[in-house]
């Protein structure tokens, strides 16, 4: 399959659920999933049917929701598509994709640990890296936690601004 065919397939088959846009480089695209409930179906189509590889997932904290990004690539044609879905606050949750992509196991745990996003259907959703002694409700990348416990740098920055 060529790059054009893959993009055409995505538009034809996922057009009603998603919208596709180009990034700042010609081989990097973004695919916005309108409803987070479709995420598993979208990922299954990209991974199983179109043969993509999942590079990694990223969480980005916003004011009203946590953005969950799935970086997918087609190495043979040199195409990279970042799938974006939004998990709304105050209790962000999204379907886990681990039954489609086993490699997503650890990164879903990491995003849960950082942003408190509950991945529904994950076989073992426990923090990946942090020590057991941390309180269970401590999510360091959450905007609310950042404001409550600023780092020394952030404090310095805040005083300078004032």
């Amino acid at each position: 399959m060529t790059k054009k065919e893959i993009l055409k397939n995505i538009e034809n088959n996922l057009g009603d659920k998603t919208s596709l846009g180009q990034g700042c480089k010609e081989n990097q695209y973004f695919l916005l999933v309108r409803d987070k409930r479709d995420i598993k179906e979208v990922m299954r189509y990209l991974f199983k049917d179109l043969g993509a590889r999942m590079n990694i997932m990223t969480g980005v904290d916003g004011r009203d929701s946590v953005e969950v990004l799935y970086h997918m690539s087609w190495d043979k044609v040199g195409l990279m598509v970042t799938v974006k879905a939004f998990a709304e606050k105050p209790f962000p949750s999204i379907d886990s994709v681990t039954d489609v992509i086993i490699g997503a196991k650890w990164i879903e745990r990491e995003i849960y640990e950082l942003f408190d996003v509950k991945f529904k259907g994950h076989p073992e959703l426990i923090p990946l890296l942090r020590s057991d002694t941390r309180p269970a409700d401590y999510f360091p990348f959450k905007r609310e936690v950042k404001e409550k416990h600023p780092t020394i740098r952030e404090k310095e920055k805040g005083t300078k601004e004032k």
């Binding site: 590889r53 990223t58 490699g103 920055k157």
Partner: protein, 403 residues
């Protein structure tokens, strides 16, 4: 009946912190549970409080061995976001240093692999040859590791005129030695007997677990970001991607050895093609937006995702090192193997725990409560006692405490 063999908090043969629980039936491993998180340092969060230029030095410290790969991927991400292309001379300098780093990483692992299986001759020879590579890095960048030579928009240090013939001379010295090494490993019956058929990762498993780098290429997955997502000098040079189909420890070793020869090819061509000229373009501001930088580190694909709001710092910086995906493949490659092979299999994809655990919670609830070294030693002793208590019969530590 299944029994659990706890292994850790240090890797049985690599000096890296992790904790494995091998579930065994007799001698055979039936399952492996992995716990990581012993060497995280908060790089991702720290990065959000550094300027675009400072982040280069920060990500360089994620890993001592991939200290060019992480800044390279980061710089590619920033350059993608700013839509700029670096000058030709900088491209070739980057390629030379990146490939020297690949040589040093592969040779380091090769030496350790020899040491793991009790083949110390390989260990000593390979590390002797690695010195040539480290000398080359020291001459060109000023450091044996942590080169601090790359920046968004180009490189920091130019090659002096005397460096090119000297590098060519050193590469001429290195080539017959690497070829000899390939021949020795490929023909050695002892290595074949020890490594072939051990810790097999099949093609489908490599795909499902999203493995990268020599781990995936050893299982027949033909991926290499230098070719698939062409950047800088790589599309201008002639080199091959090495793949093998067996998926065992031997295949992973052979891929690395043959890649060394390809790296030499890249360095030689870059030295020939390099012309005098500028080594950087100035980046005045980073526009708002998001971008990804992908680079093929010695261990596999390194990805950096950055998001900018137009200020002088990133608002999100995500780092994914290759070991993050490769360590997870232990779940399948260890199953069915003998317990004695467990250590070797879990080391075969050259795991780097520092890379894997780059992120962390660095916020302290109580900023005044800083732990000093004495306090840390006391906590560590307490923890050791606690662990000793968990495994009955382990009285050694308790005895030592008594004395």
């Amino acid at each position: 009946m299944a029994k659990i063999i706890p292994t850790g908090p240090y890797h049985p043969i690599l000096e890296e912190p992790e904790f494995f629980k091998f579930h065994v039936e007799g001698e055979t491993i039936t399952r492996i549970d992995m716990t990581i998180g012993y060497s995280h340092r908060g790089i991702e969060l720290l990065s959000e409080s550094k300027t675009w230029d400072q982040v280069t030095f920060l990500v360089e410290r994620i890993c001592g061995i991939c200290s060019f790969s992480h800044p390279y991927a980061y710089c590619l991400a920033v350059e993608n976001l700013c839509c700029i292309e670096v000058p030709d001379r900088a491209k070739y300098i980057r390629a030379i240093i990146a490939e020297l780093e690949r040589l040093h990483s592969h040779l380091l692992w090769m030496g350790l692999a020899g040491h793991f299986i009790g083949y110390n001759t390989v260990f000593m020879w390979v590390w002797k040859y690695r010195e040539i590579v480290l000398d080359s890095l020291e001459m060109t960048t000023g450091n044996r590791n942590h080169y601090a030579n790359i920046k968004p928009g180009g490189v920091r240090r130019d090659f002096e005129d005397y460096m090119i013939p000297q590098l060519e001379k050193w590469m001429d010295e290195l080539e017959p030695k690497l070829e000899m090494l390939v021949n020795v490993v490929m023909d050695d019956p002892v290595l074949h007997a020890r490594l072939k058929g051990v810790g097999v990762l099949t093609y489908q498993q490599a795909i499902d677990y999203c493995a990268t780098g020599p781990t995936a290429r050893g299982s027949g997955v033909d991926i290499d970001n230098r070719r698939d997502f062409p950047f800088d000098a790589y599309p201008l040079l002639d080199w091959d991607v090495i793949t093998m189909n067996e998926g065992d420890v031997f295949a992973k070793t052979a891929v690395r050895l043959l890649e060394n020869i390809e790296s030499l090819k890249i360095i030689r061509q870059s030295l020939k093609k390099m012309k005098p000229g500028p080594i950087e373009v100035e980046i005045k501001e980073v526009p708002p937006g998001e971008a990804i930088g992908v680079y093929e580190a010695p261990r596999g694909e390194t990805i950096h995702y950055i998001r900018s709001d137009g200020s002088n710092m990133p608002i999100r910086h995500k780092v994914r090192a290759p070991s993050y995906m490769n360590i997870l493949t232990n779940e399948v490659s260890c199953v069915g193997a003998a317990l004695a092979d467990g250590g070797l299999i879990t080391a075969a994809h050259d795991p780097c725990y520092s890379c894997t655990e780059r992120m962390a919670a660095v916020r302290r609830e109580d900023p005044d409560n800083v732990i000093n070294s004495k306090e840390l030693a006391r906590l560590s002793r307490e923890k050791t006692k606690e662990i000793a208590g968990e495994y009955p019969g382990n009285d050694v530590i308790k005895d030592q405490e008594g004395k």
